[in-house]
Amino acid sequence: MDTEQRLDELREQALDKGVVAGRGADVTGGPIPRRAGYYGEPVVRPPVWTWEIPVYFFVGGFSGMAAVISLVALTCDRGDVGMTALLVAAIGAILSPVLLTLDLGRPRLFLNMLRVFKYKSPMSLGAWIVFAFGTCVIPGLIALELHTQHMFGDGMDHFLKILAGLLVGGSACLGVLLATYTGVLLGATVIPAWFLHRILLPIHFGTAGLGSAAALLELLGHRIAPLYVLGFLVAAIETALWIWLEINKHGAADRALHEGNAGWLIRGGEFLSGPLALILRLTNLVPLAAISFLFGALISRFGWIEAGRVSGRDPEAVFASQR
């Protein structure tokens, strides 16, 4: 365009609108800012958590639910499955506090988590659940191993059996909480994309945990009917949860779940652990279904944390959630 013509145009625009918008001249939509809130600054703070937390959600999920599968399998005379499940749970019980500690701003003070018990803080309850779960699962595994190897005499063996039973029972009770409390942890915050879905989150995390535990056991060689049925059930539930999430939209308030990278991570995760796992299972490709579910469960957790980050930075989401 002719430069003189451009200048005339700018003058007209200035006279007409009282403001000329253009690169370098319009930092905030000035002279009077038109963006929502205060220059688009966040109203609440986005989470500071890094990769350790979604991975912990994943590990805590399968490890907690593996403990439940272990208890049920042991009581239903499937000692082989029960033993592997307890081993999976024990590995998760060791990894979980490590991941949690790595994410802390001051990892050397991690024991301060056990300084107080606050039932109104899911973070406090969670720390106690992880701690108690570890102290049940690992001795439980040792007791069970000693019992199955018949290392000691009859009296001691009987005692070990009772002890293992108690510890595995405790692990199972704590395990379901470990797999689901993470949903409460996200749900009871000020981040709109999270608290608006505080009912869905524990169901999703619990289901993903159960499915991941079943999938891992299947991949470890236990191709048995109960695990197949569970895998089928969780994939169906994940599909339903995905539909629920797509229907239950809150407009600007939870748009982080449906837009951008976070939206694609959640959608991708739900696709892998929902419909795809279901189809693969129906076509009898069980190992592929298990792998698909595991990846889906992991990706969707990253998606939820990323959505929280986007949602926390979005002042309009906060305002919309409070109107």
Binding site: I32, V184, V190, I199
Partner: protein, 307 residues
């Protein structure tokens, strides 16, 4: 006259900590001159590290928002609305009720230009609200965050392990984890209400230095009375959209550092209906427990009926 000079509660010694008196800040933007003395005093007294020098382009505000290393933050709000007692067009206007303003011509006895664009520039010093029901305090798993004798919320830095849960539990986006490589990185930080100064009978640094008493420190009940009076005074003088920002009707149940604002809270980056996230616990835990029981039943059924 606004302000009481050396007689103000901002300059007097006190025994609030020893006497367990509930204290607060009342911040009034209509007398704030945007000098940022509060920001500087806060940084200097509390030895808060600088967190970068960035030109924001947002009016005169290069601080951005409250955070781990910003405990006072002066907002510069630009609005296309009339404000009393401000330069409009080329003529200084006296404080006059908006209803008495003539369409054109005379205003306050003085002649003014017919094309006076409505515009106002508001300065407000933002700070931790020290909620009655504090999200950060409820969320803290280490017991690092406590309520002290004067009813304010305090982070014990030596206890905090930096879990970051308070960050997503503050309805006002105040507290944050300090990133590397700043000093004392990893912990959560926010306004201490100058607890150290208060214990010695001194006034918080920001209130002490405020030249116009836009920030007033004192007994919470006194401040609430003062704020109500000030609000009435402003309304009488044509500030029709003045209101107090002290969310007592939401689950936050009121704040110790409250504000007088002109217009809507959103323009100041303040949430219109802040909620303490503990109110979501009941429904979330119900969901978690139902899921847990359902999972147990599902696993049992799977092993019983499909063995």
């Amino acid at each position: 006259m606004i302000g009481e000079g050396t007689h103000s509660t901002n300059q007097r010694r006190h025994n609030y900590v020893q006497e367990n008196v509930e204290v607060g800040f009342f911040t009034d933007p209509t007398v704030c001159i945007g000098c940022k003395a509060c920001e500087v005093a806060c940084k200097e007294w509390n030895e808060v590290p600088d967190d970068g020098f960035v030109w924001s382009g947002n009016s005169y505000d290069n601080t951005g928002h409250l955070g781990a290393s910003t405990w006072r933050h002066v907002l510069f709000v630009e609005q296309d609305r009339q404000k009393g007692g401000q330069v409009v067009g080329s003529v200084t206007q006296s404080i006059l009720p908006a209803s008495l303003e003539p369409e054109t011509g005379l205003r306050g006895g003085q002649e003014c230009l017919p094309h006076d664009d409505p515009f106002r520039w508001i300065f407000l010093s933002d700070v931790c609200k020290h909620c009655e029901e504090a999200g950060c305090l409820e969320a803290c798993p280490t017991g690092s965050i406590v309520r002290n004798e004067t009813g304010t919320v305090f982070v014990q830095d030596d206890v905090c392990n930096g879990c970051g849960y308070c960050v997503v539990s503050c309805p006002f986006g105040v507290i944050d984890r300090r990133p590397e490589p700043l000093p004392n990185a990893g912990g959560a930080f926010k306004c201490t209400f100058c607890y150290d100064r208060q214990k010695s009978g001194l006034v918080p640094a920001c209130a002490k230095v405020c030249p116009t008493e836009s920030i007033v420190f004192g007994r919470l009940d006194d401040l609430r009375t003062r704020a109500t009076n000030r609000l009435q005074e402003l309304r009488q003088h044509g500030y029709q959209d003045a209101q107090l920002y002290d969310p007592q009707e939401t689950s936050v149940r009121g704040i110790h550092a409250f504000f007088l604002i002109l217009g809507e809270p959103e323009a100041y980056g303040l949430p219109p209906k802040p909620q303490v996230p503990t109110i979501y616990l009941k429904s979330a835990w119900t969901s978690a427990l139902v899921t847990s029981i359902a999972a147990l039943i599902a696993i049992f059924c799977a092993f019983l009926f499909f063995a």
